[in-house]
């Protein structure tokens, strides 16, 4: 017994992640089984939620929290939409430009800001989100002001327009896979090691010669770049953006997705989005209780699963064993 218990956990973890990948793959196929446009829409929103939360996860890996994540999604959305509608650029130029521009804004803000320790970064990102909204309202000639920008053209790739939901879904799914692959690569490489070093023991990281402020800023730039990337796809899928779309509420919902899914797990953003994005859609009749439901879920997760839903299988086997 003692022998098997020593050797079995790694094997079980391997099986677990295989099972997890299968489950995700099956869930991803659901809209094709049902063929419902509504299910395709939800699936696209799950992908977009997971993608944005993946950006936030990168920032969480260095021990920071950005409450302006929604604003960075917005910066990407406006960047891409303005390039496409005003300068007649193709979507495939606007999309990377959105990521680069959001990342650049993050770099400019993060460089002085991440030298601060403690809660100041979080507090200032809170203010930034509001600042973004006010700036967008202030320059209606560019941003359309409070009435926003409507009639955004659909996503088109090399002149091929993604007309129906299932095509957009395939594209979004591929983009999400690319973002997750990026995160996976970061985590496995030296950059991921520096990120966790900074998150786990800042003083020791500093005394090992790791430039902690610059490392955190790198994560902030990558994470916000991913946010901008998400925003561009979101804007061209939904077809309408306004400053309200990217209000503080959106930032909070990304934080909740990440925390519920698992702040430090690679699959955290995916699990969080899979669980939380469809939830209000299926509880349409109880829409006025949506925020209450989110709040209750958050409290339950924080109380019983502080490492998020991704820690659930491990916890379950732990409970089962202690119950025996």
């Amino acid at each position: 017994m003692s022998d098997t218990s020593v050797t079995s956990p790694p094997k079980r973890a391997g099986l677990g992640s295989l099972g997890f990948a299968l489950c995700v793959a099956l869930l991803a196929l659901v809209p094709w089984f049902t063929g419902s446009v509504f299910h395709f829409h939800i699936a696209i929103m799950v992908c977009l939620g997971a993608m944005a939360a993946a950006g936030l996860a990168t920032i969480a890996w260095v021990g920071q929290l950005s409450l302006a994540h929604g604003a960075f999604v917005g910066i990407g959305a406006y960047t891409c939409v303005l390039l496409v509608t005003r300068l007649d650029m193709p979507f495939l130029v606007g999309l990377p430009a959105a990521a680069v521009f959001s990342g650049a804004v993050a770099y400019i803000i993060g460089t002085p800001l991440l030298r601060l320790r403690g809660v100041y970064f979080v507090l200032i990102t809170f203010a930034l989100n509001e600042l973004f909204r006010l700036v967008m309202l202030e320059f209606p000639s560019v941003s359309g002001g409070s009435s926003g920008i409507a009639g955004i053209p659909k996503i088109s790739l090399f002149g091929w327009e993604l007309r129906d939901q299932s095509q957009v879904y395939v594209f979004t799914l591929l983009m999400l896979a690319a973002v997750m692959a990026l995160l996976w690569t970061i985590r496995r490489g030296p950059l991921g090691r520096w990120f966790s070093a900074v998150e786990e023991n800042m003083a020791l990281a500093e005394s090992s010669g790791i430039p902690t402020a610059r490392t955190q800023n790198m994560a902030f730039v990558i994470g916000s770049g991913i946010a901008g990337f998400t925003g561009a796809i979101m804007a061209h899928y939904i077809g309408f953006i306004s400053p309200v779309t990217f209000a503080f509420q959106l930032s909070v919902s990304y934080v909740i997705i990440l925390v519920v899914g698992g702040r430090l797990a690679l699959a955290g953003p995916l699990v969080g989005a899979l669980f939380l994005v469809p939830l209000p859609e299926f509880l349409r009749s109880a829409q006025e209780y949506q925020h209450i439901i989110y709040g209750v879920v958050l409290i339950i997760v924080l109380r019983f699963l502080p490492a998020g839903l991704t820690a659930l299988p491990g916890k379950l086997s732990q409970w089962r064993r202690s119950g025996e």
Partner: protein, 237 residues
């Protein structure tokens, strides 16, 4: 005689509190020196000042002849590596990743791999547990990993803050032996800061006794171990 570490008239204040007053001592190249003293004597402050984490209000510190300025990372460039007290590791990184983190400033990959195999040679237990999360190691193993991490920076001067704290006596003896070996094999100067005066002084060629921020005695490790004041105050004999 060339000194790797030379501290001259060092004073440090934390606000109105005087932590160190006119502290001077030298550690000759290639020696083990022990800085002993009770809780709150200012031992850790000496280390922090050497690493540039605390700015002195007077005096100077030279490492290999160069003055240390109070900027983090500066001491590392001069060849100083510290194994700090308390939270010494990155708990969720593997043992090997923790060690590699110590070599962040070393650009020579071959030298790092060489040092890694040396560290595993000194601490075979770390090699057995190289893939394990550092937070799951025992206290003694964590201390070994912390010393190994400091070695990975290929320092000229190794600072060890309370390596015996909270560790079983048998492991303390083993650590002592390994510290001596490291000092001998690599010609590395070692400054050992300890409350465990017995262990530290029996390893050290030079001993310095610190009391409420002042140097009260210094001499060879053996002399200090034999002195009646030390025996009464620190060894309880």
């Amino acid at each position: 005689m060339s000194s790797d570490l030379s501290i001259n008239g060092l004073s440090v204040n934390y606000g109105p509190v005087e932590a160190l007053y006119d502290v001077s001592f030298d550690v000759p190249r290639g020696q083990i020196a022990a800085l002993v003293g009770s809780n709150g004597a200012g031992k850790s402050t000496v280390l922090k000042t050497i690493c540039g984490l605390v700015a002195p209000s007077g005096g100077e510190i030279r490492v290999g002849g160069e003055i240390v300025t109070p900027r983090p990372g500066d001491a590392l460039k001069l060849g100083v590596a510290m194994s700090p007290e308390g939270r010494r590791l990155f708990p969720r990184l593997s043992v090997e990743e923790n060690l590699l983190m110590g070599a962040y400033t070393v650009s020579d990959g071959a030298a790092s791999r060489d040092m890694l195999s040396r560290v595993f040679g000194y601490f075979p237990r770390l090699k057995e547990r190289r893939r394990q999360m550092a937070g799951s190691l025992s206290g003694g193993e964590q201390q070994m990993a912390a010393i190994g991490r400091a070695l990975m920076a290929q320092p000229k001067l190794l600072l060890l803050d309370e390596p015996s704290l909270g560790i079983a006596p048998i492991i303390v003896a083993e650590l002592g032996k390994i510290i001596t070996e490291i000092n001998r094999d690599l010609g590395m100067t070692v400054l050992l800061v300890e409350q465990n005066a017995n262990m530290a002084l029996s390893l050290a060629e030079t001993g310095i006794v610190l009391e409420t921020g002042r140097v009260t005695m210094s001499g060879s490790g053996r002399e200090l171990l034999a002195s009646p004041e030390i025996r009464a105050a620190y060894l309880g004999i």
